[in-house]
């Protein structure tokens, strides 16, 4: 009996066996699974064909079978027409996970993308084939490496003139009426920054390449990248909302904590009722 009890199984042993089995099955599957149809599609026609397949399954219920858009009975867009929006809009909307939308709402939030980068390319190629529109920008347009300080300062001027009204001075984002909002810019890939300016997603206005030149957009991207990646030397910050917001917070939280500490000090006695001996 002592031998048996000493070799009794650990209560977690069963779970470990199941976990091991799952791992083995999973790795065997990934080693031998059939290659996906889309992974080898390289030419434009193949890409467009793959994009059309994905579109019909994932997008057509709102945007129509041919991207013509669907109107509600009230005359609003259920899903807007996609003819002429171009590949850049698709790359932004699907690449950042905003599309496919989970539900119609004041604003479609950013979330984990549902499609792989290759599938996003296919969808973009298909939508671009519906009508001419801005293409996915060339990496040279948003590559900010080696830019001079003067360019970044120039980008800051453009940023403060065109972007801060909605996206805040520190790029921390801000509220719009009716549950809409301008998202924070920290951590957004330069490609998506460029595409957002180019295509004007949701309530954001368009900043076309003819008016706000590609070089000027690159200056803005360089400034945003530098601005949102700088160390917060002063410790926790509130999106640089300024002395009023931060002061209000530190007064209510800081002075409040001091008041509580003062009350605690005054209330806590040192006597334990021990009589003089």
């Amino acid at each position: 009996m002592r031998f048996l009890s000493r070799h009794r199984r650990h209560p977690l042993a069963g779970f470990l066996v199941v976990l091991f089995g799952l791992l083995v099955a999973g790795s065997l599957y990934s080693a031998f699974r059939p290659a996906l149809a889309g992974e080898s599609a390289t030419s434009d026609t193949q890409l467009i064909a793959q994009g059309r397949k994905l579109f019909v399954v994932g997008c057509s219920s709102c945007h129509g079978l041919n991207g013509e858009g669907i109107m509600t009975k009230g005359g609003d867009n259920y899903g807007p027409p996609l003819i002429g929006v171009g590949a850049a809009a698709v790359d932004f909307q699907v690449g950042t996970g905003r599309m496919p939308a989970q539900r119609p709402d004041a604003q479609i939030p950013q979330k984990t993308p549902s499609y792989s980068p290759q599938e996003v390319r296919a969808l973009a190629a298909y939508v671009a084939s519906l009508g001419p529109g801005p293409p996915i920008p060339d990496p040279s347009k948003y590559n900010t490496s080696g830019m001079s300080n003067a360019d970044i300062v120039q980008g800051g001027q453009f940023f403060r003139t065109n972007c801060t009204a909605c996206h805040n001075f520190a790029g921390a984002g801000g509220a719009l009426p009716g549950g809409k909002y301008a998202p924070p810019l920290k951590g957004v890939l330069p490609r998506y920054l460029y595409e957002a300016m180019l295509t004007g997603p949701q309530q954001m206005p368009v900043f076309s390449d003819q008016v706000l030149k590609p070089a000027e957009k690159r200056d803005i991207i360089a400034y945003v990248t530098k601005l949102t990646n700088q160390t917060s030397y002063g410790g926790a910050e509130l999106g640089s909302r300024g002395p009023v917001g931060e002061g209000l917070w530190s007064w209510t939280a800081g002075i409040g904590a001091l008041v509580i500490a003062a009350i605690w000090i005054a209330n806590t006695g040192v006597r334990v009722g021990k009589k003089s001996s």
């Binding site: 120039q154 001027q157 453009f158 003139t161 065109n162 009204a165 909605c166 801000g174 719009l176 009426p177 809409k180 004007g200 949701q202 309530q203 954001m204 206005p205 368009v206 900043f207 076309s208 003819q210 008016v211 706000l212 030149k213 000027e216 160390t231 917060s232 030397y233 002063g234 410790g235 000090i265 040192v270 006597r271 334990v272 009722g273 021990k274 009589k275 003089s276 001996s277």
Partner: protein
Amino acid sequence: MSDEISKRSTNGSAGTGDASLLLRHDQEPLDNPGLPDHEPRPTDVDTALERRAERQVATMFGLAAVLALAFCVAYFAIGEDSQFLGFGASNLALGITLGLALLLIGLGAIHWAKKLMVDQEIIEYRHSAASTVEDRQEAIAAFKAGSEESGFGRRKLIRNSLIGALAMLGLPAVVLLRDLGPLPGASLSGTVWRRGIRVVNDVAGTPIKPSQVQIGQLVNAEPAVFFEQHQPNGTVIPAQYEGARLQVEKGKAAVILVRIPPEDITPYPQRQNWNVDGILCYSKICPHVGCPISLWEQQTHHLLCPCHQSTFDLADNGRVIFGPSARSLPQLPLGVDGGGYLIAMSGFLEPVGPSYWEQG
């Protein structure tokens, strides 16, 4: 204490002369319970505990001294650019050492006061705020004597001339108010916009063709006179304003250019030709108190002022649809010049910027 109470009741009953009231004032509703028994603290009776508390206080003060030294070391040793956990390492180290040093001194002082300083109950009686009757009578007598001796009431010439001089001293203060001026004159009602001035992108000064502005586009624009203008023949017209004048004029003349599907626009009859294929131009300065507004929703065509939430419908002549603004956003009539670029067809027909007495 009993002196105090009897004095108060004498004063209080002086006017009424009611003996029963006097009696009630003298009687306390409850007997004075006195002070509770004095209980000594553990540190008062146990010398080991007392020495321990002494060591604790000294340790806190000693640590504070060490931290103050650490602050000085960190000040010189840590570079400005070095980081720690995403914070500036220098700021973090300086803040923590100095903050903890101050905190430990405070904690030590409290610990010292509560555990070791003398511990006995004392009573401080509350005193009446008024001076005694004698003191007050003495003060009034002194004032009357002074008034009598100076002859202030008797020598009416001196009294009246003094009052006149003091009244005249108010005049310099009123005259100095003039420095708040001069009156703005006509400068509030006009901007640099004139017929034929091109509408250019702010910062860069790029002139704009209608075909370059897409549906849903927003351009933060300024009149071309603030920028160098490159002519087709290669000549350059220099900017016409500089310095403080440039800032003042730029602040007033700032506009936003938006393009809305023409079928969505409902212009007033006299504004039918103020847009170019759905491109509209409005002042960027809120007519409420003058915040710059370019927070535009391209699908609803609403422009929101972030300061007080005034909302303007740019598809409907800049009409106020929400918020405290008392008048619509001023609109600038647009046209196209010979080169195909967007120009103003006239200046603003109403003052831009915050409303004032004659306006708004």
